[in-house]
Subunit: 594 residues, 2 copies
């Protein structure tokens, strides 16, 4: 029932018409290898794989789930075959360095491709997705030897990777972690401890799994400053790269979850497993941040993916399902009733999903563009610093705002189905269940909000924010005189100003009472998300107004922008009011009264 | 893991301290039989049953679900035994007329009891819950003979009932229904057709099931004016009331759903099943409205139930789970970290749930009080009209607003658990899945919103609304001069005024364009819900301020009221802004562009 159609036209719009990826790619080293023609051909090919291979496995994955039997995990029917096809077609190596077998395409293209795969089948997508984090960690912090042994295998896709952070008593608060690493005489380590919530932690897709594990050295300082990173492969590789001895890491069980049933969420027991230090001792958490930002953008993409899927499912249904008559007279007089798309409230639900899906796409691709710049720019150059700071600001916004609005969207998609939405066969309820995790893992919405307001905004005295509001200001200045843009530009300019004032307000109250930061954080993040998307929607509207040809596409874009500005952006008013209400209404009640 | 504790203290507060049920019950016929002592003893007894028998079956029901085998449905382990206990203790007959074996207690008390049962185990609760609708229909529209045969069995609990409305091609739009009723010579009818989404439609709890079925007589007019109601028992009763011949109604399958797995959602095939007309021919939909209002208040209660459960689960967890330090310095310096309840954002999530759960309770009990008045007042008297109109207004608000906020609350409850919330064992994710149906069945949020704004408010030229805003106005006038109430009363008075103005605004725009009604409806409903709860929270706060003793209870009440006014009520600003943005931003985009 729940078929997925990759929104290639809209992706092209964002990449090439809105964000000028043509110049962006041309300016990157080797840019001639990924001209627009090449990129679009890759996108079309990937779309086919996602639509025809991954999407049909999505409901199967949910229904069957993964099976655990004495430490062995079997993935749902078809997952392994799809993975083999994926590897054979060379998809895993697409955006990695040719030094380790990669094809050297820019990371932003990987983001575009993973949007499609994730929309088609998020559970499946997490197997290669988590690997991406492990590869990133190896690329940045591994020794040349580690890269040759592990990275090459991960790049070719014949092994997958995981990130092992969480323990039963600590998730957010990694300073409390207890997994120990005792040195062996040969320079390796004995890793002992239990890790939970390890996505793709055990499965039957590949012959080996490379775990990146956070653990403590014997003499490590307490807290976050005493955490080191280790490579712990499921099978220890032989010198020539083949699979050797089984390592003492075992999957104790897999979790029974609300959704993403097709992905195995493993409890991993390390019982003096052999591990290899990666990066400097006690600096594991710093090394981890590279990966975490990466994973957070990936999770942001999940919000967009579920919003897109919800929209596709519900807009199709809304055109077919006949129920009641339009309040302004029959629109389908020959039929027994009108299609429900005639009803304003159904359109409200559809447009909300669409505005968040398309707006989310703009934000993710915009962030991905900064990732490219950061990757290729000279360290410490203005371009590098700029991209770095923009990303620092946009990552928590994208992660939390797009998953919150993605969850809202997936629920609205389900709501369009009426009672049928609650039934498995339509796919809308799976879309809600699968989406729900996105607000929890890789740092909850509350944690993202503290990262944004505390670390990124207040700790830099607003400098990081100013870098972005200047971008918006410049854009407004450039377009403010054109009458037909005013409905967007005037509104945006006001919000851009208010954003700074609101930040100042919080900064001042926080000097009196540090709890004000926590009390304001989530509302501040949501506010920031709405304004960020307003900037992008204004850009999109202006591009569409200036464009010619493909009229229905551009018309829809302008209508959706208008809807966003008139019906979603006003939500900011509530966030401003609650922020200004202060921390006291949260903190005054004694713990014992809860 | 997920234990439930009936909030008896808070229930007592709402009933006796806030809404003066002591006088209310005393004024009802036979009121001496349900004095406060008696009612509280019944509540305590019911609480024990819900906590000890129903709550432990909640996770089992979710895990096992119902099993269908060749038309026979088996409920989860323990459901039947619990039902037998429930019947043996006399719970089903509590609030029904002694003429048919009932104990004659007021319906509002039934609401209070069903809140507990529903919170403990919503899926189980739906078996007797749906019966309630069938009983109501029989009480009001059945012949004496029908009452003696069917109602007595339903009241004693030895049979259960269902309501069979929906068909595959129509849910909201019942005018399209196709099930036919052909007259037999003996005055009965042959019913043929397929009904879907029949909650509690088939099960093993009782020896018989009484279906109330909507169908068309052969000569019936098209549309909603040609629908009649029929009693179609699973087994035809013999003259002496025993079970006779099996009727031709069969359960073709049960649905695979997102949640409420313990309740069988049946597809029922009527194949010339024997049925008996109830109420006048072609007036079935009118008769149905009695039941529907009843069911809508029951579903409103579901929103409250899941908010309460989410709050109980998450507030317990938040006091135990240690993670990170408070921004204002350690609160648990001896421990490895602070309990997460110290974090402002966790408190925001807890207080939101609490404000909606406790506020929802006030609204439901307030509505239930009107149900009692309506039940006992002389038809056409001022008391009757007043209760009738208040209920007409409050029912769609309670149904949609409390389920929307109940779903938000259940999600916030889950969010407090971080990643653990996504795992089945904690119960928080089941609470979300079970809650999700409440915004869909018994009329979606969109349908409630049209009922409120179109039928209840605009069609009465605002008279029905004015009846309620006058109540609020009188309350504000009576308390406006006391300095310590101002934080509530001044704000409430402004909203009460704005509510009328907003209604006027919509009324005027709707005269130009009928689509404005549909475009404004859901925002208008949510706005109305926030103001209605503000009125009730203001009442609660003032009662708490005036009370003595039990200080921590009253302090918590005042803090929660303040939180509601400062952090939830400002959401109205967004609803006002989006309503005022008009219908054009929804209607201008051509259907083909979606």
């Amino acid at each position: 029932m729940a078929e997925y159609k990759a929104p290639v036209r809209d992706m092209q719009f964002v990449l090439y018409e809105m964000l000028d990826f043509e110049s962006h790619y041309a300016a990157l080293p080797g840019g001639e290898d990924f001209s627009r023609d090449v990129v679009e051909a890759i996108m079309e090919e990937n779309a086919k794989f996602c639509e025809n291979v991954l999407a049909p496995l999505n409901a199967i994955g949910d229904e069957e789930g993964c099976q655990w039997n004495e430490g062995v995990v079997t993935t749902p029917t078809g997952f392994k075959e799809a993975y083999t096809q994926y590897v054979d077609a060379g998809w895993p190596s697409m955006c990695h360095s040719p030094e380790y077998g990669g094809q050297g395409l820019p990371e932003s293209l990987g983001t575009v491709l993973s949007e499609m795969a994730g929309s088609a089948n998020w559970s499946w997508c997490m197997y290669p997705g988590l690997t991406h984090g492990a590869m990133k960690t190896l690329e940045l912090h591994g020794t040349e030897d580690q890269k040759q042994v592990y990275l090459t295998k991960l790049v070719e896709g014949s092994w997958t990777g995981t990130m092992c952070l969480t323990e039963p008593h600590c998730g957010t608060d990694l300073g409390m972690l207890r997994t120990r690493a005792e040195p062996n005489e040969d320079g390796s380590y004995k890793i002992s401890g239990t890790k939970i919530f390890i996505s793709a932690g055990e499965h039957d897709l590949t012959e080996n799994i490379v775990h990146i594990v956070l653990a403590r050295l014997p003499d490590a300082p307490e807290g976050t400053k005493g955490i080191s990173l280790f490579i712990v492969p499921k099978f220890l590789p032989n010198a020539e790269g083949s699979i050797g001895e089984r390592n003492a890491v075992n999957c104790g069980s897999i979790e029974h979850k609300m959704g993403i049933h097709g992905n195995a969420t493993a409890v991993l027991n390390f019982d003096s497993a052999k591990g290899f230090l990666i990066g400097p001792p006690n600096k594991g958490l710093n090394c981890m941040f590279t990966f975490m930002n990466n994973a957070r953008l990936g999770t942001a993409c999940q919000g967009l993916a579920h919003a897109e899927v919800g929209y596709q499912l519900s807009s199709r249904y809304a055109k077919e399902r006949l129920q009641m008559r339009s309040l302004s007279g029959p629109k389908n007089p020959e039929g027994p009733a009108d299609p429900i798309i005639v009803h304003p409230d159904v359109r409200r639900m559809l447009l909300t999903q669409r505005a968040f899906a398309e707006g989310g796409r703009m934000l993710i691709y915009y962030a991905a563009q900064q990732v490219d710049i950061q990757h290729y720019a000279e360290k410490g150059s203005e371009a590098d610093t700029n991209a770095d700071e923009l990303l620092a600001l946009l990552t928590p916004i994208a992660k939390a705002f797009l998953t919150e609005t993605g969850f809202e969207s997936s629920n609205l998609g389900m709501q369009c189905f009426g009672g049928h939405g609650y039934i498995r066969e339509w796919g809308a309820e799976q879309n809600v269940r699968d989406c729900r995790i996105s607000m929890l893992y890789e740092g909850t919405t509350g944690i993202q909000a503290l990262d944004l307001l505390g670390r990124k905004v207040l700790l830099t005295q607003g400098e990081t924010l100013k870098r972005f509001t200047k971008v918006i200001h410049k854009f407004c200045e450039a377009h403010k005189d054109q009458e037909e843009y005013k409905e967007f530009i005037d509104v945006l300019a006001n919000y851009n100003k208010e954003w700074g004032e609101l930040t100042m307000h919080i900064g001042l109250t926080a000097m009196e009472n540090p709890e004000e930061v926590g009390a304001a954080a989530v509302d501040y993040l949501m506010y920031s998300g709405y304004v960020t998307l307003a900037y992008l929607w204004a850009r999109a509207a202006i591009v569409a107004m200036q464009a010619s040809g493909d009229e229905s596409f551009y018309q829809a874009k302008i209508h959706t922008a208008r809807f966003y500005f008139q019906r979603l952006l006003p939500r900011t008013a509530t966030h401003v009011a609650t922020i200004k209400s202060g921390a006291n209404n949260l903190m005054a009640m004694d713990d014992s009264l809860f």
